[in-house]
Amino acid sequence: MPSVSSPQDLPARPRPGVFSRLGHALRDPVLIEPAIIALGALIVAAAVFSLFLLVLGKSPATFFSLVWMGGFSSWFSIQNALQRAAPLILTGLAFAIPARIGLTLLGAEGALVLGGLTAATIALPLQHWSLPALVILPVMASAAILVGALWMGLAGWLKHARGVNETISSLLLTYIAIAIASFLIEGPFRDPASANKPSTQPLGPDLRIGEMFGSSVHWGLAAGLVLAFVLWFLMARTTFGFAARITGGNLRAAQGQGLAVGRLLLTCCAIAGGCAGLAGFFEVAAIHGQANASLAAGYGFTGILVAFLARQNPLAVVPVAVLFGALDAAGGLVQRRMEMPDATMLVLQGVIFLVLLVSDTCYGRLPFLNYTRSGDRT
């Protein structure tokens, strides 16, 4: 019979130092693989887009230097980028959270528009009763969150109760939301003074959310950062998040374990809708000051791309949102200096999206990573 050595018999190994632990972490596929593949995808997408520019006879070098100038080079452009990153963080979270539970939910644009409209209209009677802004602003934000949560919760409920495919239903709900908003903005809630561009009545100056610390970046960015951290904690460090990730990994196993799958699905959808609704609140209270067609600016759709690039990790959503905010901010500059249509950035986004999805095929196949060491990779 072979002798079994107990752990006490083994010679004590020296405790690994900081550098060796760091080296260990850097070779851990779970941590480093998504970063390598996402960065690689961005580089390849930039190369593909350069090729596209070369075919059109434009200079890729000019393009990328303009993106740098418009998005990162000065404090002014960085503020511009952060300003646009704020809604993108929230809509990115709105895609990432349901994705962790296995739902491809695209309704952020609709929830954002309805949330913004709700915030803009609920403020008017409160303003009329001359309540202080410190009361009205939280009411506006909660109403926007609630409407967004209900709207996206609807897609989750249809999925759970009726088995309706959530991707298609949430996109249809987005079109319906925009139609409802256009109807209300051009009909009952229209400010008669808005002649050319139908809008709701403008908010009073005390209801406009100011900028943070003397910058031109509004508080939506802070809200996005806090929510990103809170939702990361929720998904990664709590039983709720664990249950949600199990459900996303294997629905049958989750049901077999007796998890309340329906409640988990609905909660994730409602969180997503709440994030998008909050983004709508900040767009109204910090940028537009009223609800109009500018609310449907496509943040909800760009958020999908942000979440994909962040691999549905709430913390990674933040830097990716800043990157896309910078691209968005540089759009005008590229348009003017290179005489290219505003759809240039749409093409770039499409290319990044596509290359990114193709890069999914590299997972588990990078030759220089030792996959067997870390056990299961989820």
């Binding site: 249809l158 996109l171 499409g350």
Partner: protein
């Protein structure tokens, strides 16, 4: 509402249903073929917009609208084949790739379509089938684009072909059981790539109809989810090309509701009536989800019904 108003709305609805349904019909037939092979292509929305732009641009530059239709189909083939090729890579999700093509197709169409918003390109001529009637509304309702009839013939051909030909059997087998198809020596990736490319061709033609017949000009707001609704329509039609025709007509009628009411001066709630097709789609999806007969007819390899 008087009797004559009702007749005007009715005529406008019939004519509108025929006109509005044609792009639905083409996209739905294309998606039907793709889904029969076991893949879903949500990117047809992007293909539709790109097709509309390419069709309009080629018609403007060559002077021949039919050449534009062909070119739009060609653009659709490229998009579909790219989708089919990318989806064969392991670990790649076909729904997500569809979303990417939706955004890429829209981006490319807006990028290259800028110079074509102003100029007017030669349109496809409609066939005046209402000549027997003195009533101008009937005449207007029955001036039908030949592409509508092409679509109906295509639906019959597709229905017959899927049932009775060897190629149709192969497509159905790949869509129902990839393992059996592989055991029979069929190259499933190639079959799906061809089915997606053919689906892309039809969606491109549907897009050309949008810009060259009805509404009949190129603008960035031309398509508003028709490609996407067509995907839901295929599920509603239970993957049967003949039922796709009926479903497309129903969706066309819903889409024509807003403009018809406007023609007699009812414009209140215009946006609501414009949302009618989306609400109808959603209602149909809710009603037809989890139905046993639908589940029986669904291609087994399809990711959205699993």
């Amino acid at each position: 509402m008087s009797q004559s108003d009702l007749m005007i709305v009715l005529y406008a609805m019939i004519g509108g249903a025929i006109r509005v349904s044609t792009p639905f019909l083409f996209v739905a037939l294309g998606e039907c073929l793709t889904e029969k092979s076991g893949r879903i292509n949500l990117g047809l929305e992007g293909t539709l917009i790109l097709g509309a732009m390419v069709g309009y641009a080629v018609s403007y530059n060559s002077g021949s609208p039919w050449l534009g239709v062909l070119a739009a189909g060609g653009g659709g083939i490229v998009m579909g084949a790219a989708h089919g090729w990318i989806c064969k890579l392991p670990k790649v999700n076909d729904i997500a790739v569809g979303l990417a093509f939706m955004s890429l197709g829209t981006g490319l169409a807006f990028f290259f379509g800028k110079p074509y918003i102003q100029p007017s390109a030669p349109r496809l001529q409609s066939l005046p089938l209402g000549g027997w009637s003195q009533n101008p509304q009937v005449q207007q309702a029955l001036s039908v684009n030949p592409l509508f009839f092409v679509g109906i013939l295509l639906a019959i051909a597709l229905w017959w072909g899927l049932r009775n030909t060897r190629a149709g059997l192969t497509v159905r087998m790949v869509g129902d059981s990839a393992a059996s198809a592989r055991a029979m020596g069929v190259n499933i990736n190639m079959v799906r790539l061809l089915a997606t490319a053919a689906g892309g061709f039809l969606a491109g033609v549907g897009g050309a109809f949008l810009s060259l017949s009805y509404p009949g000009s190129w603008s960035e707001g031309l398509s508003s989810g028709q490609g996407l609704m067509a995907v839901a329509l295929v599920i509603f039609a239970r993957w049967n090309p003949l039922r796709c025709v009926l479903a497309a007509l129903l969706f066309g009628a819903a889409g024509a509701l807003g403009p018809s009411l406007q023609s007699i001066g009812i414009s209140y709630g215009y946006h609501f009536f414009n949302a009618a097709p989306y609400i109808l789609t959603l209602g149909i999806m809710v009603a037809s989800a989890r139905s046993k007969s639908a589940a029986k007819e669904a291609p087994r390899e399809l990711s959205i019904v699993k």
